[in-house]
């Protein structure tokens, strides 16, 4: 079916037929998983709209910005400091990597036993399906795990890749390395954009990104209420969209949605009865359109009240200190903020265990589902420690390892339902 965007997609060198297939699957998936929910917030209409225009209007905005000389920076990880991109007058978008569609293309250049997220972003590129990747003037990779690290070498044959080195420990020398990486990234951004990052611009960018984090923090706090005022699926979608929507508009819209949530809470309204078991997800990120596990969970009589994940609290927990006025002080504050991220690529990573227990308690979660992508060693191994910490805190945990395919949905349902029964009947 022709769309007003065909010309744009064609200019972006997308495989139009395959891309149409992707949009159809996405639309159906979204309809089944999202639009079937009852009593949704009015504020979700904005997100429905943004998602329905995920490859349309937002890409058009990017093209218009590019026509005015702005650069687009694509990322795959919450370690890439968006403040710097914004201060260089660029647009930063999180590239999604949550669909299986490019898997076959990816397996031509990657081993089969590679995590679904890596296969997805490589597949999207090789199969020419993602208008975001095609819009990027720079794609920033990072060394969080061996799989991504080595995949970027292959990805670099197809896209303009720049890789940041993420330390794996949190000693003084690691902080020095990270600070040096931030300076190197700053220089690269200035090279790509032709703009100089000034103290005034950086200050503004820090405030902007902090404001978006703050509104997502507010959303998370409101989810601590019983009955849960918003479904986990909707909250996940909000977090997912935060990675590619315009940050000013997004922050305003989510602020309005939070106002609506407060009204609902005052009226004692929720998306599920107060007695519904409350679950928190923890582990690997769920990128658009990976809604598989949340849908299974919320179709099994439970409601999700939090995501301890990069597309969730890990990305919004910490703000950058806004008190610095000099460029040096602000860069230092940025380096410190990002070093607080509790990614499983760090050793040791005890702060993550503390965060999970605290978060589960704050959100009054009855249980935690630990979600690992198959072949993601850091999270798979850390799951054992997470379970130990949660057990000590008296919070049951179910460990799930899966990928983007639908072949294990029935087994997943049985396990999730049994976990919910256990919490309900226990």
């Amino acid at each position: 079916m022709p769309t007003p965007y065909d010309k744009m997609w064609n200019e972006l060198n997308l495989d139009l037929a395959a891309h149409e297939g992707l949009l159809q699957v996405l639309g159906k998936f979204y309809g089944d998983i999202y639009l079937t929910q009852e009593g949704r917030l009015k504020g979700m209409e904005y997100l429905d709209f943004v998602l329905s225009e995920v490859h349309g209007l937002r890409i058009k905005e990017l093209q218009e910005a590019k026509a005015q000389g702005k650069k687009v920076i694509g990322t795959f990880c919450v370690f890439v400091p968006e403040e710097l991109s914004l201060a260089a007058d660029a647009i930063q978008v999180g590239l999604c990597a949550g669909a299986e569609i490019g898997k076959e293309a990816a397996e031509k250049v990657l081993p089969r036993n590679t995590c679904a997220l890596i296969k997805s972003f490589v597949g999207f590129k090789i199969a020419r399906l993602c208008p975001y990747i095609e819009s990027c003037d720079l794609v920033v990779g990072e060394t969080t795990c061996d799989g991504k690290k080595k995949a970027y070498e292959i990805f670099a044959d197809y896209a303009p890749v720049y890789v940041m080195e993420i330390p794996q420990m949190k000693q003084a020398c690691d902080r020095d390395l990270w600070k040096a990486e931030i300076m190197r990234f700053k220089a690269e951004l200035e090279r790509v954009t032709g703009n100089t990052i000034t103290a005034a611009r950086l200050k503004e960018a820090i405030k902007l990104v902090n404001a978006r984090r703050a509104v997502l923090q507010r959303l998370n706090r409101l989810r601590a209420v019983a009955p849960a005022p918003i479904s986990g699926r909707d909250a996940l979608l909000i977090n997912q969209i935060s990675f590619y929507d315009d940050p000013v508009r997004f922050t305003q819209k989510i602020g309005e949605l939070c106002d609506e949530l407060e009204q609902k809470i005052k009226a004692g309204q929720g998306v599920a009865p107060a007695a519904t078991p409350r679950l928190m997800l923890s582990g690997c990120p769920m990128a658009v359109p990976n809604w598989k596990l949340p849908f299974v969970v919320e179709s099994s009589g439970a409601v999700i009240v939090g995501e301890e994940s990069c597309i969730g609290a890990r990305n919004t927990r910490d703000l950058v200190d806004e008190s610095g006025d000099t460029l040096e002080a602000m860069l230092e504050a940025i380096a410190l903020r990002y070093m607080r991220i509790d990614c499983a690529c760090f050793t040791p990573n005890t702060e993550r265990l503390e965060h999970i227990v605290d978060m589960a308690r704050d959100l009054k979660a009855d249980g935690v589902i630990h979600y690992g992508l198959s072949f993601c060693q850091p999270y798979a191994i850390e799951a054992f420690k997470v379970e130990k910490a949660l057990t000590a805190a008296g919070i049951p945990m179910l460990s799930i390892e899966t990928d983007y395919s639908m072949e294990d949905v029935e087994q997943l349902k049985t396990r999730v339902e049994a976990f919910v029964e256990m919490l309900h009947l226990g």
Binding site: G232, A272, S300, P396, D408, E410, T414, R415, E417, G426
Partner: protein, 269 residues
């Protein structure tokens, strides 16, 4: 179709290979039946239900949703096999602390609290390696009737190790052993040991506390039981009709005080 509640409660366990039905009055089993699942499990369920008095139905097993969606004239609720096996095992042997269920395509290891509640469980993911399906395949490959396969394996005169747990790879491993002249019974024992090793890993993850009950269709296999007992260093209880434990548990669950189950609680959807 009967739609009113009778005095009884029916438990139906719709597994990948067979469907079991138990009719309870109070806690007494007054009727039980079993049919193969076939390609039309719903028709098989209807056959099992034919002629039975009206009763509430509690469905379990992988086909539980099928009943929820299709038997609209009955009052059907559903629970998972994990809950069903736990309830059934606790009812039959109230002190049981660990339940192992090996069915046609799933293996579950369940740890029970002293009060008989599910405390922790493990279940295989998408792959049916090490389940009844595996034994069925291997029995066919060795041309031994499935029901005799365990006894046949126990006639082995030496232990060989089969390294692969994947049905396809294990079969080719067995084939090359046969080509080397290995006795079929020894190969059969090796295949059983492979299942037991995999099962032990799941049991250890939930923590093995005695007494252990072994149920599900594969519990009919004497070799799996013997090898489990040997490796665990403790006796393993196998009930008289190990494949009925799920249906029994489902029915018992329906008879308990009416607490909402997952299908009755309004989901967040």
């Amino acid at each position: 179709m009967p739609s009113l509640d009778g005095p009884g409660i029916i438990g139906l366990d719709i597994g990948s290979r067979s469907i079991e039905l138990v009719l309870l009055e109070g806690t007494q089993v007054v009727y039980q039946a079993k049919l193969p699942t076939t390609f039309d499990p719903l028709a098989q369920c209807r056959r099992l239900l034919e002629g039975l008095p009206p009763a509430r139905i509690v469905a379990t097993g992988y086909g539980r949703k099928l009943l929820l969606e299709n038997l609209k004239h009955h009052r059907v609720t559903a629970i998972t096999e994990i809950q069903a096996y736990a309830s059934g095992a606790h009812h039959l042997y109230p002190g049981v602390r660990t339940v192992l269920d090996i069915g046609g395509q799933d293996t579950k290891a369940i740890s029970l609290s002293e009060a008989g509640k599910v405390a922790k469980f493990e279940m295989n993911d998408r792959c049916a390696a090490g389940t009844g399906k595996f034994l069925e395949f291997m029995a066919t490959a060795l041309q031994v009737p499935l029901e005799d396969f365990g006894g046949f394996a126990l006639t082995a005169d030496r232990r060989i190790q089969i390294n692969s747990m994947c049905t396809v790879f294990a079969e080719s491993e067995a084939t090359s052993l046969m080509a080397r002249g290995e006795r079929p019974a020894n190969i059969a024992l090796g295949l059983h040991l492979a299942i037991v090793q995999r099962t032990l890993a799941m049991l250890r993850r939930v923590g093995v506390v005695a007494p252990v009950l072994f149920a599900g269709g594969v519990a009919h296999n004497p070799c799996v039981q013997t090898m489990l007992e040997e490796h665990l260093g403790m006796p393993v209880i196998v009930p008289d009709q190990p494949d009925l434990v799920g249906a029994l548990g489902a029915a018992l669950h329906g008879g308990r005080s009416r607490r909402p189950t997952q299908t009755e609680t309004a989901a967040a959807s």
